[in-house]
Amino acid sequence: MSNLEIQQILSRRKLLQLGARGFGALGAASLLNPSLFAEANPSSPFQGTLAGPHFKPAAKRIIYLFFSGGPSHIDMYDYHPEMRKNHGIELPDSIRNGQRITGMTSGQKSFPCVAPMFDFSRHGKNGSWFSEIIPNIASIADEITLVKSVHTEAINHDPAITAINTGVQQPGKPSMGAWLDWGMGSPNKNLPGYVVMISKGRGQSQALYDRLWGSGFLPSKHQGVKFRSAGDPVLYLSNPKGVSRDMRRSMLDGIAKINQAKKKESGDPEIDARIAQYEMAYRMQTSVPELVDLKDEPKHVLDLYGKDAMRKGSFAHNCLIARRLSERGVPFVQLFHRGWDQHGSLPSKIRQQCEDVDQPAAALVRDLKQRGLLKDTIVICGGEFGRTIYSQGKLTKDNHGRDHHGRCFSMWLAGGGIKAGFEYGKTDDFAYNIVENPVHVNDLNATVLQCLGIDHERFTYRYLGLDQRLTGVEHPKVIPELLA
């Protein structure tokens, strides 16, 4: 083992922290356990493995609203009035430009362009277009930056959703949340630092995978913890039937006494970490139920999130819990809302999906703002890719589908460090190609890291001979225009 590696294990900062605080009780092997150090220096903005931010952070946490399945940018955000004129015409070769398309439509003989079957209007000081199916999101136009030029190489769900969440299309890499939990840690010791919630949409659900919130090659403690709507909110959280909290307390006291004795016998400092983890588990048993219990939310707040706010497992409910997590300092909360894969019957299905997400998503931004949390919380909203201008299947007067499209799609961001009331990136009149200011999914992640004070190029972990990064091996760049 080289000096470098030993330093990777026993980082200078940790040792200095220890030096400042006193070392005795913790012992050396606990050097391997960042969360213990976190308690050592609560004044540091980061509690994780990174010594501290690379720049002054603009934000402390993220809420990521992930719409799984590929929401249509054309029917929600990326409107061009010329689309109406082009409705029904064949996609010009000059636009398609030999671009590969998925196996689902590559056999199609005709590629008729379809204008959105919804009205669009301009909103906010910036005058951005929004579809009639997302009136609430339109109403927060002045809080958000709408990026219309996000792009990805992937054209199918599995690789695309893996790429946007982990930086590459192949499995094996840590998710964004795991990276942040590893690097930044969490100021809240009674809740997980990375929480994932899933809601079921009304359309065809594409699969999700543990790897999307997994820890890849990072220590597995950094994997996202799922908050669930049925059963225990966190797996295995409840005591077994018949066991009260008092009984559990007595059990843990007994276990701790024997473990402390074992510590003396064995000299193994890791035992202190085990005792601490059992205590944290005990605290989680109350902090999580408290967190998901919405009885202290006033009516006007519930109303803000809409009729589903109290319905467990709904997107609205999850948005509200996300806000409560952010309030408690949890750095990364990710909501997956399923059902956006509209290969057919798009007009009716996307309307249904938007009915479920529009009000809560906008409410979340408003709610964060009114609580003063938006200034250091970033909200990100989008999916793994967009959809094609041309119809998949038959185009009729009121019905059509759209296939996957990764060459451009729209996402929006709001909050800490992000410009408000802004629009970035431009696509052609077919919302097919980017004509101005492309933003690769890894550029987007690099930019978000920047808001958190992290230089994505220096945010690395040595694995398989490479200094691995969330943002991949190509050369992603921070997009300064998006920053406030």
Partner: protein, 1058 residues
């Protein structure tokens, strides 16, 4: 130990230059890692990114004169350009340049200074050079040392001013060996046997016993499953099921039988290419079918086919050679001497596999091989044995029945004169001669009240087999209203005469069947000209289907008959064509419920489908018995028996007598017939055993005339092959070449990997073995032995172990045995102050490591300690407890549901847990089990609150605690302390001490009161888990001890190997 003292010690350990003892700066240990991580990107093996034509990975280039300056001038700091550049703070000059964001630290600069001053000595990268066996250092303490390992370890300790720890006590050693070699704890009696064995080789005997156990094979296989990215599902998109456990069982057998590692390697990389490869060798080649595959509708197949090749290259290189070869897919390797061209030469070995880019979500994708599970093999042997026994009984019966037969033939002979034709079989319940039609109606001669009516174009014809008949045309049919359903569990028989327009007829001659209700009912069936029958409750889970192996002749009246014995089995169902009993194929075998349906009997079709246009039908009969073959023969007019009966016994030829006797036995002798039925059943089960096919995916190359050419993929893109140059399979130039006589195929590649001259294979394997036993490799990057990899703590030891492994027949058990019988291994794991000062991470083994068991073993231990563990070796994956809904909430449109197993399958070893890779078992995931979507050679070992929640609250662990409590309460121990000692013996291999007894006694006394005051609590706690509780036990005591047991299962000393 003073606090400040420790801090200082650790600080100095980490921050000082790691010049230890009198050792000087070492190029490989100290300098290469810095060059690699900070300089090679621009001055390394990759041509594309190389700046100023300078290579710092090659001594020649580094020392070369470059227009008067030299990067490095040994011994002369001032003349070395590198030194000036490192020190410079001019952004134009300084190295590494600021944009690399990899500035040199002060320690690194100091290391360079020292190294340059000392003469800038170069060394070949430690793992790339030839593997030679170093001499074993003289042991400083011969009394301590047990084998060569100890010489190396002792030298390194001495250099660091450390001493080895004393040997651990025997209880600790017994438990450590059991956990390390099998992943399971010893039983108290196993510990006692070891304590009582005073022979000098007691320890070695224990080691040998454990190495021979199933547990050893399971323990080793688990590690290999991570490396092989083993799973029970396909990963991408739908993550559907696949059957690869036959491959996993092959690995189990290989470890169990101590297959040499070179053979283990060759069979897994190229078992399919071995001459006349066996089924097992083909199964072994499935190693490279374990990777993730896709079934996503929109994918471009070639993109994923390339992905699979890339994965195979990466996995082979990582696992066997510790090379991160995948880095060279898009550009030449930045750190190791692998060019992009060499990458594609290596890739070419794998570029001809026959499996496609788009694969199935429904089980195994070809190429596959048929396999028999151990259960199937066992059952087959049982059945064959039983069949042989019954056959013997039949022979015996044959002798016994002779007398009765003779009497019967005599009697028949006497009656023969009166009986010109055989008696019509009894039990006729319906008979449609189809001779006369009136107003489209024709009578049933038996069931007079049936209404049999012509519909559509079906028409009466004359000159059928017997007078009139029925011809089906177009959509016509004859419907019989009021036809009584036969019963599935009573015998019946049916059939008719039939004439088909061609010899490949398909459809139902007649049927009483409801296609809309899973085809309930029965029919007389043609399948491509072959007659057969369906008898169905629910197709095809609960049904019998047999099809005769002979075709009907076209345009000729022929007799078809089905007999059924009411057994619900194919073996009890016979198909006769013109009186001949046909051999049949079984397409469904197992009927256990009603076949009754509201639908009427129809001739010429089922209810609405399977129409037999152009077929003629005559003389339809139904019987409520299973007709004998002679009866069917008589109906078909092919009766051979009746004429024979008219010959007296003395006049019959022996052949004639044999025919008659066989007929008698098979049709009329009840005991013989019963035995025959039993044999038929066995035959049926044997046939269906062969039919429930288990396959395992294997490697197979494309045929010679369809070999794919390999091109360099520009930027690694599947869609950008550079077709100007074809690449033939070959190995990288920095490694010894393939022997001339090896084919340039996967087989040649596999043999090259295990060539004794290959410098990496043995080193990587030895390191992995060390990691398996000591918890951490001698090099801490088991999958990267390149220049970015971790410098080994004991370079000589790793070389010695590797050479010794290679030179002793790649004997894995020997290698493991060598490690666990060393004094190094047998040390106490107690951490002392000087350890924390000088070696806090325990890199140098002044003590044995102490660490938490692998997640699988945490659960296995709880099951073993509680007595729940079910020890079966191998077989299909099982689905033990997990919280509900986990699959559905992530699966494609909710289409994959987890259905928990029951009974013994809940308690198998955790390595057999069904591994769904997009949503793996969460309790194991909490304990660092990787998802296995990709190859993993080193698990993380974390310590988290989620783990506490699992071992305290998971149904599996609570149930285990309840069973552990039962084991304690029924042990015979009466006092609290005796019971507790018994419990601790199970969990930790030693009795409880005073402190533990006091702590737990106090808890016991408090909690038993709580349960007595609130009996519902006890009932609730004791109801967790599927298995019933022991009702004989006092519920309050049982509940209290369940909590105590849970506490013991959660103790650090139970969860740790020490």
């Amino acid at each position: 130990m003073g606090k400040s003292h420790t801090i200082l010690a650790v600080l100095s350990f980490s921050l000082s230059v790691p010049v230890v003892g009198k050792e000087s700066v070492s190029f490989n240990r100290d300098i290469r890692p810095i060059l690699s991580s900070k300089c090679f990107h621009c001055h390394g093996p990759s041509e594309k990114s190389r700046k100023a034509k300078l290579r710092l990975d090659l001594q020649q280039s580094a020392l070369a004169d470059r227009d008067g300056t030299r990067a490095i001038v040994p011994g002369k700091l001032d003349e070395s350009e590198l030194w000036h550049r490192i020190l410079s703070d001019d952004p134009e000059e300084m190295m590494p340049p600021p944009e690399s964001k990899k500035p040199m630290t002060k320690q690194e600069i100091e290391l360079f200074r020292q190294w340059l001053k000392d003469g800038a000595e170069w060394e070949r990268h430690w793992s790339f050079g030839a593997l030679e066996k170093p001499s074993v250092p003289e042991v400083g303490d011969p009394a301590w040392s047990r084998n060569p390992i100890d010489g190396f370890v002792h030298r390194s300790l001495r250099n660091r001013g450390l001493k080895p720890s004393p040997e651990a006590d025997r209880r600790t050693l017994a438990r450590r060996l059991h956990l390390d070699l099998t992943g399971l704890p010893p039983t108290p009696s196993e510990v006692k046997a070891f304590l009582d064995d005073k022979s000098p080789d007691a320890y070695e005997k224990l080691v040998d016993r454990l190495l021979a156990s199933d547990g050893y094979a399971e323990r080793m296989t688990l590690v290999w499953m991570d490396a092989a990215r083993y799973g029970d599902t396909s990963v991408f998109h739908d993550d559907g099921p696949r059957t690869m456990w036959p491959w996993r069982d092959w690995v189990l057998d290989a470890y169990k039988n101590n297959m040499p590692f070179d053979q283990f390697t060759v069979e897994q990389l190229a078992g399919d290419l071995l001459p006349e490869s066996t089924v097992e060798q083909k199964i072994a080649s499935g190693f490279n079918r374990n990777h993730a595959t896709t079934d996503e509708g929109g994918v471009i197949a070639e993109e994923f086919r390339v992905e699979y090749v890339v994965d195979r290259v990466k996995t082979t290189a990582n696992v066997w050679m510790g090379l991160t070869m995948e880095c060279a897919q898009c550009h030449s390797h930045m750190y190791d001497p692998i060019s992009q061209e060499e990458y594609y030469r290596f890739y070419a070995f794998y570029n001809n596999n026959a499996d496609p880019g788009m694969q199935t979500r429904r089980g195994n994708q070809a190429p596959v091989v048929n396999v028999q599970s151990a259960d199937q093999r066992k059952r087959k042997e049982e059945l064959e044995k039983r069949d042989a026994e019954i056959s013997k009984k039949q022979e015996a019966r044959r002798k016994e029945a002779r007398k009765a037969f003779d009497e019967w033939t005599d009697e028949q002979f006497l009656n023969a004169g009166e009986k010109k034709t055989p008696v019509a079989p009894a039990g006729l319940v319906s008979h449609l001669p189809l001779d006369g039609f009136e107003k489209n109606l024709t009578p049933d001669l038996v069931r007079k009240d049936s209404e049999c009516r012509l519909h559509g174009k079906a028409k009466p014809v004359g000159g059928a087999k017997f007078n009139g008949g029925l011809k089906i045309e177009g959509n016509g049919y004859l419907e019989v209203k009021g036809f009584k359903d036969p019963q599935w569990n009573k015998p019946f028989s049916y059939g008719c005469w039939v004439k088909t327009p061609n010899g490949n007829q398909n459809g139902a001659v007649f049927a009483k069947m409801d296609e809309g209700n899973s085809y309930r009912g029965f029919d007389l069936w043609f399948q491509n000209g072959k007659p057969g029958a369906h008898i169905i409750h629910k197709w095809q889970d609960n049904a019998v289907k047999v099809v005769g192996k002979k075709k009907v002749a076209a345009k000729k009246w022929q007799h078809l008959f089905i007999t059924y014995d009411g057994s619900g089995r194919a073996a009890g169902t016979r198909v006769y064509l013109n009186g001949e009993k046909l051999d049949h194929t079984v397409e469904a075998d197992g009927l256990t419920a009603t076949i009754a349906t509201d639908k009427p009997l129809r001739l010429g079709r089922r209810f609405g489908t399977s129409i037999v246009n152009g077929v003629e039908i005559d003389d339809v009969r139904f019987y409520d018995r299973e007709l004998t073959s002679i009866e069917v023969q008589s109906l078909s007019g092919s009766d051979q028996i009746t004429p024979l009966l008219a010959i007296s016994a003395s006049d019959r030829t022996p052949e004639q007598t044999k025919v008659l006797f066989d007929h008698y036995l098979h049709s009329l002798d009840k005991p013989f017939r019963e035995l025959g039925k039993e044999r038929d059943k066995i035959g049926g089960e044997l046939a269906s055993l062969g039919k429930t096919k288990i396959t395992s995916m294997i490697m197979a190359d494309n045929p010679a005339n369809k070999m794919r050419k390999t091109y360099l993929l520009m930027r690694g893109q599947y869609s950008s092959p550079d077709k100007t140059k074809e690449f033939l399979p070959d190995t990288p130039a920095f490694l010894p070449p393939m022997k001339e006589d090896l084919p340039k195929t996967r087989l040649g590649l596999a043999k090259w990997i295990v060539d004794p001259k290959h410098p990496l294979t043995a080193r990587v394997a030895a390191n992995r073995h060390w990691q398996t036993i000591f918890g951490r490799g001698l090099s801490n990057t088991p999958s990267d032995f390149g220049s970015q990899g971790s410098w080994p703590t004991h370079p000589d030891l790793i070389n010695w172990l590797a050479a010794d492994f290679r030179d002793n027949g790649w004997n894995v058990k020997r290698a493991i045995r060598q490690m666990v019988t060393s004094a190094t291994y047998r040390q106490s794991s107690v951490t002392r102050a000087e350890h924390l000062e000088k070696d806090p991470v325990n890199l140098y083994h002044a003590r044995a490591p102490r660490f938490r068991m692998m997640g699988e073993f945490v659960r296995d231990n709880a099951l073993a300690i509680s007595g729940l563990l079910k020890r079966d070796f191998g077989g299909a994956g099982v689905k033990p407890y997990q919280p509900p809904g986990l699959w559905v909430e992530v699966s494609l449109s909710g289409g994959r549901k987890f259905i928990r197993d029951k009974g013994e399958k809940l308690y198998r070893r955790s390595m057999y847990t069904y591994w769904k890779r997009s949503a793996p078992q969460p309790a194991l995931m909490a304990f660092d089990t990787p998802t296995r979507e990709v190859c993993v050679l080193q698990r993380q070992r974390t310590n988290t609150p989620m783990q506490a929640l699992v071992t305290l609250n998971d149904e599996q662990f609570v149930e285990a605690a309840r069973h552990f409590a039962r084991r304690i309460l029924t042990s015979g121990a009466q006092t609290f302390s005796d019971r507790l000692n018994f419990a601790f013996e199970w969990a930790t291999s030693r009795p409880a001490d005073q402190l533990r007894i006091e702590v737990l006694q106090k808890f016991h006394d408090e909690q038993s009161k709580v349960f007595r005051d609130d009996p519902k609590r006890a009932e609730d706690l004791l109801s967790v888990g599927e298995s019933p509780r022991d009702a004989k036990l006092d519920p309050y005591e049982h509940a209290t001890w369940t909590l105590l047991a849970s506490m013991i299962l959660n103790l650090d000393e139970t969860l740790n190997r020490e």
